[in-house]
Structure formats: structure tokens, C-alpha cells
Symmetry: C2
Subunit: 256 residues, 2 copies
């Protein structure tokens, strides 16, 4: 099964600590060795690093581990290929533009008998069920609205879409347009919101501790979402199967 990692913050924050543990799950501490990727929103811009090498020995991962990119929304994915061969076109996250914004999507799971018709606005490039689902969600939203709707309406539409596609199988996913991050749980997904008073955190996958009090200001708020908890001394909230959250400014704004 693939692994997902997301971050949503109220101030641009680097993801070095979480990524340090997470990237080791791509070939070292777990078996997800069929490529990986990470997308960082910076303002309206977005940069997407992809590699079809396992993240544990990827030169691109070495860069990401040493280059503290500050971002308010991050989505990362380590792939265990199930549908579609290994290759860059099948590596998550996927990127599209809608309403003059970049949108990023990554998926963990498997969809059965899921073959949406090619869209008018969005079509998959690779052969994964995941990119097909992303394009179907984008197509649905774009056909409904020609410009961004109020956030609560968008949230409702995303819940509908997630529910419909979930009927086809395992559909844990994260989606962001750089303003918010939507996380949908079908089997496994956890999150934590870190805010003042900040404490220390210790990684599960490696013996590394960070004292967030030294790295933050009292107003910072950071939500981290991951398939499995990344630290062993903090309380992560399990998202129940069928549940979704929309994170904005580092907090869970909507929950259903």
C-alpha cells in the first residue's frame, strides 16, 4: 500500500522533520519502492518533485531533505505500484490547473472497475486508477462551476465525489489548491495539529527528536496528515473510514 503525507499551515513552514521519517518508508523501513513525489505550494505557485527511484535512495529526496522549502500546503506520496506500471507518468502527486489555480492530488488505495469517461477538461496522462479519479473529480467541479464557488459548496461537492468513488475500493486521498487541503479516509489516515504550547516530537522511523518550541512562533499552527503516525510521543487522531476533513490555516475547518 502506498503512503501519504500532507501538511497544512497558517504560516509557511518546512516539512523537513516529517519528511525525514516519511521518506524512509520508501524502501527502508517499509515496502513502497516504486517511486515517490512531493508537491509544495508557495503562494500561487507550486513545485512538484517526482522520482521513479525509491525515496530512500533518491537523489531528489536527498535534495528535499536538505532544502528547507517553506510552504503552507504540501502533499507527498510514496508509491507501491498496484495499478499501472512504474514510471514517471504514474508517479503521484498529480498536478492540474483549474480556475487559474494549481491543484495537487495523491491517492493511496485501489479502485476496482473504475473507468470514468474521458473528460472535456481533464484527462489522465498515465495509466493509474488514481489519476483517473483525480481527473474525474476535477471534471465534475469544472463542469459545475466556471469560477471558484464558496468554500462550503466546494466542500460538499468534494464529499459527494469522494463518496461516489469510494464505492469502487480503497480511496484514501489528499487534494489541495494551495489554499486548503482536503483529506479523505477510506481505510487509514491520521492527523495531528501542532500549536502553542509546542513540545518536542520524536520520529517513529528514526531516532530523531525536534523541539518545535525552538522552531516556531506562538501563533504558528501546523496540521500534519499521514497514512500512519510519524511520531511516537504525540497523540495522532485517527480519521475514521468514510470521514473527510478540510484543513485551512492549520486547523480542521470542516469535518464530516
Amino acid at each position: 500500500m502506498c503512503q501519504l503525507l500532507g501538511m497544512n499551515c497558517n504560516t509557511p513552514t518546512d516539512i523537513l522533520f516529517s519528511f525525514e521519517g516519511f521518506h524512509r518508508r520508501g524502501g527502508l523501513t517499509d515496502h513502497h519502492a516504486d517511486g515517490w513525489g512531493i508537491a509544495f505550494f508557495e503562494g500561487r505557485g507550486c513545485r512538484l518533485f517526482l522520482d521513479d527511484k525509491p525515496s530512500a535512495d533518491s537523489p531528489v529526496a536527498a535534495l528535499v531533505r536538505s532544502y528547507p522549502i517553506k510552504s503552507e500546503n504540501v502533499i507527498a506520496h510514496i508509491r507501491k505500484a498496484t495499478v499501472g506500471p512504474v514510471g514517471l507518468a504514474n508517479t503521484h502527486p498529480f498536478l492540474r490547473e483549474m480556475w487559474g489555480q494549481y491543484w495537487i492530488f495523491a491517492h493511496n488505495g485501489d479502485l476496482k472497475d473504475y473507468h470514468p469517461a474521458p473528460g472535456r477538461y481533464y484527462r489522465p496522462v498515465g495509466g493509474t486508477d488514481s489519476e483517473a479519479a483525480f481527473c474525474a473529480i476535477m471534471e465534475n467541479l469544472r463542469q459545475r462551476w466556471d469560477a471558484p464557488p464558496p468554500l462550503e459548496e466546494l466542500w460538499q461537492a468534494l464529499l459527494e465525489q469522494a463518496g461516489a468513488i469510494r464505492a469502487h475500493g480503497v480511496f484514501n486521498f489528499m487534494l489541495s489548491n494551495g489554499e486548503w487541503l482536503f483529506a479523505h479516509c477510506s481505510t487509514h489516515l491520521h492527523y495531528i495539529v501542532r500549536q502553542a504550547p509546542f513540545a518536542t516530537a520524536h520520529l517513529l522511523d528514526e531516532d530523531i527528536t525536534v523541539d518545535f518550541a525552538e522552531e516556531t512562533t506562538p501563533d504558528d499552527r501546523v496540521a500534519v496528515i499521514a497514512t500512519q503516525p510519524l511520531t511516537d510521543n504525540e497523540h495522532w487522531t485517527r480519521i475514521d473510514p468514510g470521514q473527510a476533513l478540510l484543513f485551512k490555516d492549520g486547523r480542521a475547518l470542516f469535518h464530516a
Copy 2:
């Protein structure tokens, strides 16, 4: 003025030698210090590295210089900001999807009084004239065709589009969908086709020589396109203002 670099080959080839000279034009040997980017097609997939740091001291450029990514189509750009502030959303190349393919675009120049209406299919995310032109070209093609047309028809449409937008100012650009690379010259653009018998080449910007005979097989063919020649011991062909070429499999397939 910005700098463009492109490569189109008949076999996946790394761009390390050309990039070595090119990246130095971002802040060292020339003044183009407002970010840079490079896109590599690999099969149907595409990876796009962007950085808003000058390429001469960008950690991302250090990665690209040391990681021999093999690609049949590459487009790189070093930015000197003219229209739109420095920032990731305004950093070239730009990426969109059309007809289930990724398309990559980078531009050198300035367009005056150029404000195309927001498209139905493609809208700019950042504030550059360049991304607006890219979206306008994509919108035009997508409105004309629901699926890829014959290449010669596409070529004619690209010539029309390039001619129309060139009326607004300086419009040197490269565009690729991973199968071919279209290069349009408005003021400065040069290219070279390297094929057997291969010889040595010596960079202009740095004292580095490569013997392509050692790096290639006799069937390889590689076209390199750049704002200014990158080597000082080879014959680069100047593309005349108003001219365009479509490169495929390392050769100039169409020329007008």
C-alpha cells in the same frame, strides 16, 4: 532578457553538458537571476524542477547538474523578470495537460498590450505575459480539436498562433508535448543537430570539453536549441526572426 535551452533527441539523452554552461548564465556569466526551471519528459511523464533562486547558486540546479536524467525532450529557462514579480508562480517553464498529454512552454521576451480573455480550458495562475500566451495557444488548439490532430495541421496552427502573438512584441519560445519540440524565434534563437560522426564540443561559459563520440552510439541524433550558442567550436545555426522549427527525433522535421 531571459535565456532558453531546449533539447530534442531520438533516444533518451542527458543534458548535463549543455546545462553546465547554461545554468551559469543565471547570475554568474550573465544577468538572469530571477529564478529558473527545467522540464524533462520521460515517456509520457514529465518532471519540472523550478526554483526562484538564481540558477548559479540554486540547490535544485546542483541536483540537476549531478543527476543524469535521460529524456527525449527538455526545455529550460532562466528568468530575468520583466512582467510579473519574482516568484514560483511566474517561473518558467509552465505545464498544462491537453488531450491526455503534458505540454511544457517557456518564453523569452516581452509582450505589450497583450491581455487575452480567460480561456474555457486554460487560465494563467501567475501574472506573466508568458503564461498568458501559453494558455492562449493551448486554448486555441483545444477549442479547435478534441483530440490530437495530424502533426502537420498542428504545426500550421502553431505557426498561426506564434505569428499572431509575435505582433505584441518579442516572442521567442519553445513548446513540447513530449513527442516533438516547437521552437519559435522572434529575435534570438540558435540550434545545432549533433549526429554521427560525433566530435568534441567545448563550452563557451566554462572551460569544459566533452567528446560526444564516447557518450553516444552511431544512431543517436540530438538537437539542442538555445538563445545563444553554448559551445565555441561548433557551428550553430541562427534561426531568423519570424522563423520556427518543429524538432522530432533529433531533426528539424518542419521549418517555416
